[in-house]
Amino acid sequence: MNTTLTTPATLAGRRFRPGFWTAVFVLLFLAFCAVSVIRYTKGLGAVTNLSDQFPWGLWIGFDLLCGVGLAAGAFTLTAVVHLFNLRRYEPIVRPTILTGFLGYAFVIVALLLDLGQPWRIWHAIVYWNTHSVMFEVAWCVMLYTTVLAVEFSPVVFEYFGFHAPAKFIHQLITPLVILGVILSTLHQSSLGSLYLIVPSKLHPLWYSPMLPLHFYISAIGAGIGMIILESYLSKRAFHRHLEMDLLEPLARGMVVALGIYGLMRLQGIARNHAFGTIFDLSYEGRMFLLEFALGVVLPVVLMSFRKLRTNPDWLVAGAFLAVLGFVMNRLNVSITGMEAASGTRYLPSAMEITVSLGLVAIGMAVFAFAVRTFSVFPEGPVAGAKELSRRS
C-alpha cells in the first residue's frame, strides 16, 4: 500500500527513482493512450460494453458522477474557511482545491472519451436548451472548473513571483467562494436530477423525487471523506504529519452529512414502498445493503465515537468507507438500478476500466507534481523521495 502511494509522487518528482509501481503507472498510462486511439478510430463500440440497451456505463457512473462528487470537498472547505470564517482550516484548503480541480479535469477528459463527438463539446455553449439537466451539468462543469482554476491560481502566481495577480484574486476571494458554492450546489444536485427523468427505469431503491438533494448531501459527506483520505495519502507519500486537530472535527461534519443523507434515503425508500425489495435479497436488494451498510451506517457509527475519530487509523478507515459508499451509490444509481429496466446486464469492458484507472493514475501524478513544485502545503513544496530517505 505504502509503495502504491509513493510511486506517482516519485515519478513526477524532481528526483526520479523508478520502481515496480512506477512501471505499473507507465503501463497504465500507455494502455490509456492505446485505448483512446482505438476509441477515436473505431468508435465507442470497439472499446466499451455499451449498447443501445445500456448507453451509459462506467465512464458516466464512475468518472463523471464520482469525479464531480469527490471534488465536493473543495466547495465545502472553502465555505467553511471563507464564509463561516473558521480560519484554522486554512492549511488544508489548498490541497483540497487542488484535489477538486483535478477531479473536474478528470471529468472533462473522461467526457472527451465518452461523448460520441467530443469535438462538438462547445455546442453546449452555443445551442441552449434550458429544459435539459445535461445543459445545466455542462455549464456547471465549465464554470466551476474555471472557478477552481482561479482559486488555485495564486499558488501558481506565487511560484513565478507574480504577486499582483495573486493579491488581486485574494481580494476577490469572498465572491469567488460564493460563486463556487452556488455552482457546486447546482452541479452536485443536477447529477441527481439527471435521473429524475427515468422514474419508470431506475429501481425504487434509488429513484426518488429527492434525488438532487440525495446527491448534494452525499457529495458533502464524501467530499469531507475525500479531504481526510487525501491528507492520509499525502502523509504516506510525502512523509507529512496528519493534521488530526483539523480532520477530527471534519469527521464530525461528515457524520452529520451522512446521517442526514442516510435518513433521506430511508424516507425515499419508504415513500416508494420498496423495503420489500431489500429483504427479498434480490440482486438490487443485496447491492443496496452492501452500499448502505458499508458506506453509510458503518462510517456513521464508527465516527460517532470520539475514541475512534481521534485515532488516525480509524479516522482514515471511516473516511475510506464513506468514499467507498459514495462510489457504490453512484455506480448503483447509474448501473445496478438501471439494469432490470434495460433488460440486459452491463459489466464494463477491460478497456473501459483501463481508461478509468489510467485517469486516476494521471490525476495522482499531477497532484504529486503540483505539491512538489508549488506551495500547496503550508510548509512549502514537499521534498523529493531521496532527500527524504537521506533525512530519515
Partner: protein, 259 residues
Amino acid sequence: MGMGLLFDATRCIGCGACSSACKEQNKLPGKVEEVLTAYTWTTVQEREGLNVRRLCMHCEVPTCASVCPVGALKKTPEGPVVYDAERCMGCRYCMMACPFEIPKYQWDRPVPVVGKCIMCAGRLKEGKPTACAEACPAEATIFGKKEDLIWEARTRIRQKPGAYVDHIYGLTEAGGTSVLMISNVPFDKLGLKSNLPGEPPAMKTWQVLSNIPDFVAVWAVFLYGVHWITARREEVAKATANGNGNGRDGQGHGREDRS
C-alpha cells in the same frame, strides 16, 4: 395537434413492407433487424401471435427533446420529433431518458449519430404520408390528422366490442404521442411499456430546473449573509481582544459598533 400514425395490430400481416420502405426512404444501410437499431428505424415483431410495429412514438412533449443539452431533438408542429445530426454531440441522454427506448446509436462508427424514426418529416412537408403508411398493403398503419386517427380508433373499438382492448396506446402514455396503437391483446404483452405516467416525464425535471434562478438568488444572499455575520463577529472579537488593556472600554466599543 398535427399529424400522426395509427397502427392496428389486428390488421398487420407482418409482411415488413413498412420497414423496407423506411430503409429506402431514409437511405439506411443493411438489412431490417429484428430490433430497432441506428439503421433500423422501424421493425415488425411477432408477439402473442400478433405482429406489432416498433417505431418512435413521437411524443407530444418528447422526453428526448427536453433532455437534449443542445436542442438537437425537436417536436415540430406537424407532429414529427426530428433530429439534427449536425448539432448532436453524442451524450446519449436521449437514449437514457426515452420512456419508449427508441433512440439508438451508431456504436460502430468513429463519428456516430443517433438514429430514430422522424415520421418522414420531409415527406410531410410536401404533403405526402409517411413511407411506411404508404407501403402498408393491409392498412394496418394509416397516416392522418391525429384527431381523425383518434376518432377512427375509437370507432373501431366501439364497432366491434370485444375485438379490441378498450384502450388507445399513446393517447395518454408519457403525456400522449402522435403515434397511436390499438390491439386485441394487452399492450404490455406486445412488449410495449405499460407503466408509463400520464404526465410527460419532462415535467419532473422542469419542476427542479425552473426553480434554479430563484434558488441562486436566495442562496447567494444567504451565503453572503453568513460571511457578513462571521466576519463581523471576528472584527468584534479582535476589537475586544485589543481593548483588553483598557478593561471594559474595549468590550463597550465592540457593542457600540454592533448596533
